[in-house]
Symmetry: C2
C-alpha cells in the first residue's frame, strides 16, 4: 500500500511487526493515534519505551519485576518452599489472577523444543536446580502446557532435580470445568478416567 | 488483572486505549515487545512519537502530508479541476491504491451527524467552497459512505456549492462486483435497478 506520508508508512510498518496485526489493523491504529492529542501519543510511546528499558528480571525466579527480586520472591507471607515451574510470565499472571496459589514461581523462559531448536541450556533450568540444591524447596509443581514440548520439559527438569529427592507434581489434567464431555478429545477423556479422584475433590468450595 | 511489574501494567493500559485491543491482546503485544531487543522497542516508540509530532495536513485538501502541500495537490500531472470529497484519510488511501483516479481530494474530517453532535462547522467544508470559488474546479465527486450521515453531508455540501454551478457527482452505488444477488439487501437491489446503465459500462476492461 502507498501512504500519503512517510510518517504514516513508517508507523504502519512498526505496528505490523506486532503479532496478530496486519496492514489494515496497523493503519487503523495509526489513524486512531493521529486523531489523539500530541501529549497522549507522546505518553503512549514513552511508556512503552520505559517499559523495555526499565524492566528487570527477578534474580531468583526470572519473573519480570521492578526490583532485583520480585514481589513474590521477597514476600515472606508466601510459601517459599513451593516452586511452580512455568513457561513464561504469561502463566505467572494467569495463575496469580486465580488468587489460589500461595507459593513462588520459576519462569523457564520457554519449553524444550527439538523442532524449534530450543535446548535445555537456553532455559532457566540450572538456576532452578541451584534453588533446590541450596534452598528450602520441598515441592516443585510443573505448570506447563500438556503438549509434546511441555512433557519433554517436565521429563528433563524432573530428571535434573531427582537427586535432591523432593516432591515433583503437575497441575491436574482432565476435562475442563464447564466443558461438555461429548466435545472433549479422546485422549483427555481416557486419561481423566485413569487419573480419577474421589468426587469430593472436584466440588467447588 | 494484576501484573508483576508497573511497567507491564502501564504498557498494557496504553495499548488498551487503541481501538479493538482488549486486555488480553494488549498483554500479548507487551510480552512480545518485552522479548525484542531494546533498540527495536526504542525504534517502535520513537517512530510513533515522530509520526504524531511530524505529521502535517495539506493546506489545500487537508490530507496528511509531509509538507505544507501534499504530494497530490502539488502534482501537476493530476487533474486539479476534479475534487473527490472524502470523509477521512482512510478513503484517500483506499482510492489511491486502486490506481484509477487522477484528480485531487478534499478530506472533510468526518460526516455531518446530528446524533453524534457533529455539525458542518466542525468539518472542512468552508475550505472546499473557497477552493471552488477561487479555483479551477469543474467537478466534485462525492465519495462518502451510503449512510444517513453520508447522504446528509452530500446534501449539505452540494447546497453550499450550488451557486458556483459546477458538476456534482457521486461514486456509483449498486451491487458489489463479485457479490451474490441473493445476499444483496433489497434497498441496494431496488436502487441498482433504478440507476441501471448500459451493460457495457460495467465490463471490466
Amino acid at each position: 500500500m502507498n501512504y500519503p506520508s512517510k510518517h504514516i508508512a513508517d508507523s504502519v510498518a512498526e505496528f505490523k511487526k506486532l503479532p496478530g496485526i496486519g496492514e489494515k489493523t496497523a493503519l487503523r491504529l495509526v489513524l486512531h493515534l493521529l486523531k489523539q492529542e500530541t501529549a497522549k501519543v507522546e505518553q503512549f510511546s514513552s511508556v512503552i519505551s520505559a517499559m523495555r528499558l526499565g524492566i528487570k528480571f527477578c534474580s531468583i525466579c526470572h519473573n519480570v519485576s521492578d526490583a532485583d527480586i520480585c514481589s513474590i520472591c521477597s514476600n515472606t507471607m508466601r510459601d517459599q518452599s513451593m516452586v511452580c515451574v512455568v513457561e513464561s510470565l504469561r502463566e505467572v499472571i494467569a495463575i496469580e489472577n486465580t488468587g489460589v496459589y500461595q507459593g513462588t514461581y520459576h519462569v523457564l523462559g520457554g519449553l524444550i523444543s527439538p523442532i524449534d531448536g530450543v535446548g535445555p541450556d537456553e532455559l532457566n533450568i540450572n538456576s532452578l536446580v541451584k534453588r533446590i540444591q541450596f534452598g528450602e524447596v520441598r515441592e516443585v509443581i510443573m505448570a506447563l502446557s500438556p503438549t509434546m514440548d511441555g512433557d519433554t520439559t517436565i521429563f528433563y527438569v524432573s530428571k535434573k532435580i531427582q537427586p535432591y529427592n523432593i516432591k515433583v507434581t503437575s497441575i491436574a489434567r482432565g476435562v475442563s470445568f464447564g466443558g461438555e464431555l461429548e466435545y472433549t478429545d479422546e485422549l483427555t477423556l481416557a486419561r481423566s478416567i485413569a487419573t480419577r479422584l474421589p468426587y469430593e475433590s472436584y466440588l467447588v468450595k
